[in-house]
C-alpha cells in the first residue's frame, strides 16, 4: 500500500508498504529517518517516541497505515519544531502560559550538577556548545548535552521528544512531575540523574528566558 503523512513539516509518501509495517519501520527504513530507535518493539522502552498529531506515542506500536494523513514529529525535526513553537508564542516563551515558578527548579539550582565534583575546573561545561557548532538545537537537546545526560545515546531521541512535550504543557515541573512524565522511557546508562538535571536545566533556562 501507499501511505502519506507529514514528517517534521514535510509531506512524505512511501510506496509498497506492507500492512504489517509499523510507523517506526517506515520512518527508519523507507524514509531515511533512523533517529527514532527500536529497542523493544512492544511499547515498553520509549526509544521510538514520536509526536503523532502532537501526542507522544511509541511509533513501534502504530501501524504505518494509522498515520495516514497525520502530522509526525521525530527527533530529527525537534529543533525546528521547538523554534516554530517559540516563534508562534512570540519569543522565548513556550506557550505564554508559563505559570509563576511554584514547583520547578530555579536556574542556579538546576545547574547544581555543575558543582558536583567539578571543583577547581573552569572547563567548557555549560557554556554553550563546543560540540554543537553550526547546529541549532532545541533547548532540551542542548540541555541534554550540557548536563551529561547522553551516554550511549540510544534512549536519547525518545527521551528528548517526551521531555520536550512535557515542558510544553508543564514549563515548571517538580522532580516528581519529571519522573512521572518520563517513566515510559528506559535508560540503562545514566541512572537517570543527569537526565533529571537536563530537564530541570531546560525548564529553568526556559523560565529565565520568559521572565519579564
Amino acid at each position: 500500500m501507499r501511505v502519506h503523512f507529514t514528517v517534521n513539516g514535510r509531506p512524505q509518501e512511501a510506496d509498497d508498504v506492507w500492512e504489517g509495517e509499523s510507523l517506526l519501520y517506515v520512518l527508519r527504513e523507507r524514509l531515511g529517518l533512523p533517529g527514532s530507535k527500536n529497542a523493544c518493539e512492544q511499547g515498553e522502552c520509549g526509544s521510538c517516541t514520536v509526536r503523532l498529531d502532537g501526542v507522544p506515542v511509541c511509533s513501534c506500536l502504530v501501524a504505518a497505515g494509522q498515520a495516514e494523513g497525520r502530522e509526525i514529529v521525530t527527533v530529527e525535526g525537534l529543533a525546528d519544531f521547538a523554534r516554530q513553537r517559540s516563534r508562534a508564542a512570540g519569543g522565548g516563551a513556550q506557550d505564554g502560559a508559563a505559570a509563576p515558578d511554584t514547583t520547578g527548579t530555579p536556574l542556579d539550582a538546576a545547574q547544581r550538577w555543575q558543582a558536583h565534583g567539578v571543583q577547581g575546573s573552569d572547563g567548557a561545561h555549560g557554556t554553550g556548545s563546543q560540540t554543537g557548532e553550526g547546529t541549532e538545537l532545541a533547548p532540551i537537546q542542548q540541555a541534554f548535552i550540557d548536563a551529561g545526560a547522553v551516554q550511549c545515546g540510544f534512549c536519547t531521541p525518545g527521551l528528548l521528544v517526551a521531555a520536550d512535550e512535557m515542558l510544553e504543557h508543564n514549563p515548571s515541573p517538580s522532580d516528581a512531575d519529571i519522573r512521572e512524565a518520563l517513566s515510559g522511557n528506559l535508560c540503562r546508562c545514566t541512572g537517570y540523574e543527569k537526565i533529571m538535571d537536563a530537564v530541570r536545566l531546560a525548564a529553568a533556562r526556559q523560565s529565565e528566558g520568559t521572565r519579564p
Binding site: R30, K37, N38, S47, L78, R188, E193
Partner: protein
C-alpha cells in the same frame, strides 16, 4: 491470496537519502572533530564530541546502517534447552520468494566451526544437539526482515529431548549428562567433573586455628539471581562482501580485534581480509564481549555476495548474549568480641550455563575478591563455575565481584548485629588499606581508602523523613507502589543500609592486556590539529571525550579529531573491566608524548639556531606554541610543523600480572583495585512488600577524574544497575525445562526513572602512582555495593533476613 502476496515483497529503500560514498554503507562512522581553543584538557568536564549527533538523531548506531542491495539476516534458535537434533529441513524456507540463503552447520565453510573468548566450545550453528534454549540452529538471508523471519519459521527442526542439567546437584550427580562430552581445554585437566568449567581455591593462613580465636561465628547461604545487561541498542551489524573475497563488518561490539580473532578461522579468511569498523554502540555492560551475530552476518554476506544486515529484536537479544552468572554462596565469618575479623571461608558456585564464555575469569574474580575490602589473614575460598543447560553466562559489569559483595556484606551486617556494633564502624575497624595483603598474597600498593569512603558516605546528609508529604496530601509517586496508589503512607517503614566493595581494574591473571594508539599532528585550516586513532569501542562510556582531552593536555592544542575505531590500527583491548581510560588512555598519552618529542626535534632542526633555549630549556607545548618551562614562547606550532605531519604509534601495557596458583590461589593477579561505598535509604510497604528506594548515596575513589561529569555519570549508572538486581531484575529460568520465562521488557524489569532515587556522589581522588595521571578505573565498582546496601536497608526496615537478590514482594510478606 498466497502467503507471499500478503507479505512484504520488496527490499525497502531509504527514499529520502542517497547511498553513502561508493562501497560504504549509509551510517558508516565518520571522524569526530572537537575544537576547544583554550581548554578541554584532562580534569575538565568537557562535553562529548558525539553529543550533538546523538541528540539530533544523526548518530548512526549499528542498527541504523543501510546499504544498497542489502539483505536482512535472521537466526533460527532452538525452542528447547537440551536435545539431539534429529533432522533439519530447510527446503520450504529456501522456496519462499525473497529468500537468498539458508545455512546450517553443514554449510559452514571450514573445519573450524566453534568459537569462544577463551574456550572454543560454542558452535557457530548447532551441530547434532542444542545445549540451551535459544541456541542458533540456522540462519536466513532475505530481502525484507519479515520475509527472513517467516522463512526461519518454515525451517523444520526435529528435536529429541535430553535430560537437562540446571544446578550443582544435577550437574555433579553420578549419572549427570555431560554438557560437553569431549573437553580438552586447559581447565578440563584440573576440574573434578566435566560439568565444572573452572575451579579456583584460595587458601591463606590457618582457618582452623583462627576459628579458635573467634568469639562469634556467623554462617549464611545466599542466592544471586540471573541479571541481564539490557543495553538498549540490540545486537546488530552489517557485513559487506569485498572484491578481494574478504568481508567488512560494521558492528557494535566491545572489542573489535577479539571478535576478528574468533571470526576469521570460521570464515576461512586470513585476519587481514576481515575488516572491522565500530558502528554506533547502544550500551554494552559486558553483553557484547562475546560474539553474537558477527559470524552469521559475514557467512550470509560471503554466501550471497550481498551486504547483509542483522538486527536482533528485544526478545532475541535476551537469547543473543550471555548474562550475569547466578550464584549460590556459602559464607562463614568469625570475629573477636572487640570486632576484629578472625577468618572467612566461602564457597561460591556460579552457573555458567551451556558455554564457557568468560566463566574462567569470572571464577578468578569471585574467588580473589570473595572476602571483600577487609583485612583477614586466615581464609579458605573456593569458587567454581558449572556447565549447565541454562542460558550461557559471562561478562557483566562487576564480573564475579558483584555476587560475592552481595554475600559478604550481608555477613558483615550479621556480625555487627551479633557484636552489638554499628555496621559502619565494624566495617571501618576491619577495612583494608594501602599495604594490606589480599587473600592471594598480593600486597595492595596504592591508596585503598575503604574506611574513609565509609566515613564519607555516612556523613552525607540524610534525605528528609516523609518526603512524600505535601500540603495536598501524600504524593503517591514518591511512595512504595507509586502511581498504583497502594498507600498514602500507612504501613510504610523506612530503613537505612550500608555496603562497600572491591573490584579489580583491567584484565588479570597474567593476561597480556595492552592497547594501541596512533596519534598524528599536522596543520589544517591554519591551526595545529591532532588526530587520535584507536580501536577502542566507544559504547557510551565517554572514551572518545577522554582521548581528546588527553591529546589537548599532552600536545597543548585545542582541536582534536577522533578517528573511527577500526582494525586498521592495532588492538585497544576490550571496553571492559573498567580498563579503557587506564589502558587505551595510557596508550594515547604515550603516543602523544612521542609526537611531542618529534615535534620538538623538528623545532630544534628548524629554529634551534635562533634561540639557545631550544637546546637548554625544558620545552612544553602549550596554547599551540612551543614554550620554555619559564613561559617564554619559542615558536608557533604552525611554523614548527609547516606542511609536515608528525605521527607516532604506541602499544602500551600496564604492569604485568601473574596467574593464580591452581591449588593455593596465590599470585599477584590483579593490576589495580577500586572501591566504592553506598548508603541506601528505602521505604517499604510492609503490607504489600513493595520497596521504594529513596536515596542511594555513593562515595568512590577515582584516583583522578579525567572528566568529572562523565565519572559521576558512570557512578550513577552503575549504582542503578545494582539497584535493579536488588529489587526487580531477574531472568527467570524454568528449573524443569531450563527455558527462559521472561525474555521481554514487559517481564524483565529494569529501573525506570520513577524507580530511581536521588544519587548524590562524593568523589575522592587519591592518585595511584602506577596508573596514567593517577587514575583509577571507575565503571564497575558502584555496581557492586549498591545491591547489598539496598538489601541492608530493606532488612533494616523489615527485620527480615533476606538472603537472596532480587528481593520480591513475596519475600517481604512471607507469602513466597
Amino acid at each position: 491470496m498466497t502467503e507471499h502476496s500478503s507479505g512484504p515483497s520488496r527490499t525497502p529503500t531509504r527514499a529520502a537519502t542517497g547511498p553513502g560514498p561508493a562501497g560504504t554503507p549509509l551510517g558508516a562512522p565518520s571522524t569526530l572533530t572537537q575544537g576547544a581553543p583554550a581548554s578541554g584538557g584532562i580534569g575538565e568536564s568537557t562535553l562529548r564530541p558525539d553529543g550533538t549527533l546523538k541528540v539530533t538523531g544523526e548518530f548512526a548506531y549499528s542498527s541504523d546502517l543501510w546499504h544498497e542491495d542489502m539483505l536482512w539476516g535472521q537466526i533460527l534458535r532452538s525452542t528447547v534447552a537440551h536435545a539431539e537434533i534429529v533432522s533439519i529441513d530447510t527446503s520450504e524456507a529456501l522456496a519462499l520468494p525473497g529468500v537468498h540463503a539458508v545455512l546450517t552447520y553443514d554449510d559452514l565453510p571450514t573445519g573450524t566451526r566453534h568459537y569462544g573468548l577463551e574456550i572454543q566450545d560454542t558452535p557457530v550453528l548447532a551441530h547434532g544437539k542444542v545445549r540451551h534454549h535459544g541456541e542458533p540452529v540456522a540462519v536466513v538471508a532475505a530481502d525484507h526482515p519479515e520475509t527472513a523471519r517467516r522463512a526461519a519459521a518454515k525451517i523444520r527442526v526435529e528435536y529429541r529431548d535430553l535430560p537437562v542439567v540446571t544446578d550443582e546437584a544435577s550437574a555433579l550427580a553420578p549419572d549427570a549428562p555431560l554438557v560437553h562430552e569431549d573437553r580438552d581445554d586447559d581447565h578440563s585437566r584440573h576440574v573434578a567433573h566435566p560439568n565444572i568449567v573452572h575451579r579456583q581455591p584460595i587458601v591463606r593462613g590457618d582457618v582452623a586455628r583462627a576459628r579458635e580465636r573467634a568469639d562469634i561465628v556467623v554462617e549464611g547461604e545466599y542466592t544471586f539471581g540471573m541479571q541481564d545487561q539490557a543495553f538498549l541498542g540490540p545486537e546488530s551489524g552489517l557485513a559487506v562482501p569485498e572484491e578481494d573475497g574478504g568481508v567488512h563488518l560494521y558492528i557494535a561490539t566491545q572489542w573489535l580485534h577479539s571478535d576478528r580473532r574468533q571470526m576469521a578461522p570460521v570464515l576461512g579468511l586470513p585476519e587481514d581480509k576481515v575488516r572491522m569498523t565500530l558502528a554506533g554502540v547502544g550500551g554494552a555492560f559486558g553483553g557484547r564481549e562475546d560474539l553474537s551475530m558477527q559470524i552469521h552476518a559475514c557467512l550470509l554476506a560471503l554466501r550471497t555476495g550481498r551486504p547483509v544486515k542483522i538486527v536482533y529484536n528485544r526478545f532475541e537479544s535476551f537469547f543473543g548474549h550471555v548474562h550475569r552468572h547466578p550464584a549460590k554462596l556459602s559464607y562463614e565469618h568469625g570475629a573477636t568480641r572487640d570486632g576484629k575479623l578472625t577468618h572467612v571461608t566461602c564457597r561460591i558456585v556460579l552457573d555458567g550455563g551451556a558455554y564457557a564464555s568468560a566463566s574462567p575469569a569470572v571464577v578468578g574474580n569471585a574467588s580473589s575478591l570473595g572476602v571483600g575490602p577487609y583485612v583477614v589473614d586466615d581464609v579458605e575460598i573456593e569458587a567454581l563455575a558449572l556447565y549447565t543447560n541454562n542460558p550461557p553466562c559471562g561478562a557483566m559489569r562487576g564480573f564475579g565481584a558483584v555476587q560475592a559483595c552481595f554475600a559478604y556484606e550481608a555477613q558483615m551486617d550479621k556480625l555487627a548485629e551479633r557484636l552489638g556494633m554499628d555496621p559502619v564502624e565494624f566495617r571501618r575497624l576491619n577495612a583494608m588499606e594501602r599495604g594490606t595483603v589480599m587473600p592471594t598474597g598480593q600486597v595492595v600498593d596504592s591508596p585503598a581508602p575503604v574506611a574513609e569512603l565509609l566515613r564519607r558516605v555516612k556523613a552525607m546528609p540524610m534525605p528528609p523523613e516523609r518526603q512524600w508529604e505535601s500540603s495536598e496530601g501524600a504524593d503517591v509517586r514518591q511512595l512504595p507502589g507509586g502511581l498504583s496508589n497502594t498507600t498514602h503512607g500507612e504501613g510504610v517503614v523506612r530503613g537505612v543500609g550500608y555496603a562497600v566493595g572491591i573490584k579489580n581494574v583491567g584484565f588479570s591473571e597474567g593476561f597480556d592486556d595492552y592497547s594501541t594508539a596512533r596519534v598524528r599532528m599536522e596543520v589544517a585550516g591554519g591551526r595545529p590539529v591532532a588526530t587520535v586513532h584507536t580501536a577502542m569501542a566507544e559504547v557510551g562510556q565517554g572514551g572518545v571525550t577522554v582521548h581528546a582531552q588527553i591529546a589537548r593536555t599532552e600536545l597543548g592544542i585545542g582541536q582534536v579529531t577522533i578517528h573511527p575505531a577500526d582494525t586498521r590500527v592495532g588492538s585497544a583491548g576490550s571496553t571492559s573491566a573498567s580498563r579503557q581510560t587506564y589502558v587505551t588512555g595510557g596508550a594515547v598519552r604515550n603516543a602523544c608524548r612521542l609526537v611531542r618529542e618529534q615535534v620538538l626535534e623538528l623545532g630544534r632542526r628548524r629554529f634551534g639556531s635562533y634561540h639557545p633555549a631550544w637546546a637548554t630549556a625544558e620545552l612544553l607545548l602549550e596554547g599551540g606554541k612551543v614554550v620554555t618551562d619559564g613561559g617564554e614562547v619559542l615558536a608557533d606550532l604552525v611554523d614548527v610543523l609547516g606542511d609536515e605531519a608528525v605521527e607516532a604509534e604506541e602499544e602500551w601495557r600496564h604492569r604485568p600480572t601473574e596467574p593464580f596458583d591452581p591449588h593455593t590461589g596465590q599470585g599477584n593477579g590483579h593490576v589495580q583495585y577500586t572501591f566504592a561505598a553506598h548508603r541506601a535509604v528505602v521505604e517499604v510497604d510492609t503490607g504489600l512488600g513493595l520497596v521504594k528506594v529513596i536515596e542511594l548515596a555513593c562515595a568512590q575513589d577515582v584516583g583522578k577524574a579525567l572528566n568529572p561529569l562523565s565519572v559521576i555519570g558512570q557512578i550513577q549508572g552503575g549504582t542503578v544497575q545494582g539497584l535493579g538486581v536488588a529489587v526487580m531484575e531477574e531472568i527467570v529460568v524454568d528449573p524443569r525445562t531450563a527455558k527462559v520465562r521472561n525474555p521481554s521488557f514487559t517481564d524483565y524489569l529494569i529501573p525506570t526513572i520513577l524507580d530511581t532515587p536521588d544519587i548524590p556522589v562524593d568523589m575522592l581522588e587519591l592518585a595511584d602512582d602506577h596508573a596514567p595521571y593517577g587514575l583509577r578505573g571507575v565503571g564497575e565498582a558502584p555496581t557492586l555495593s549498591s545491591t547489598p546496601a539496598v538489601l541492608a536497608a530493606v532488612r533494616d526496615a523489615t527485620g527480615l533476613e533476606l538472603n537472596r537478590t532480587p528481593v520480591r514482594p513475596e519475600h517481604l510478606t512471607g507469602t513466597g
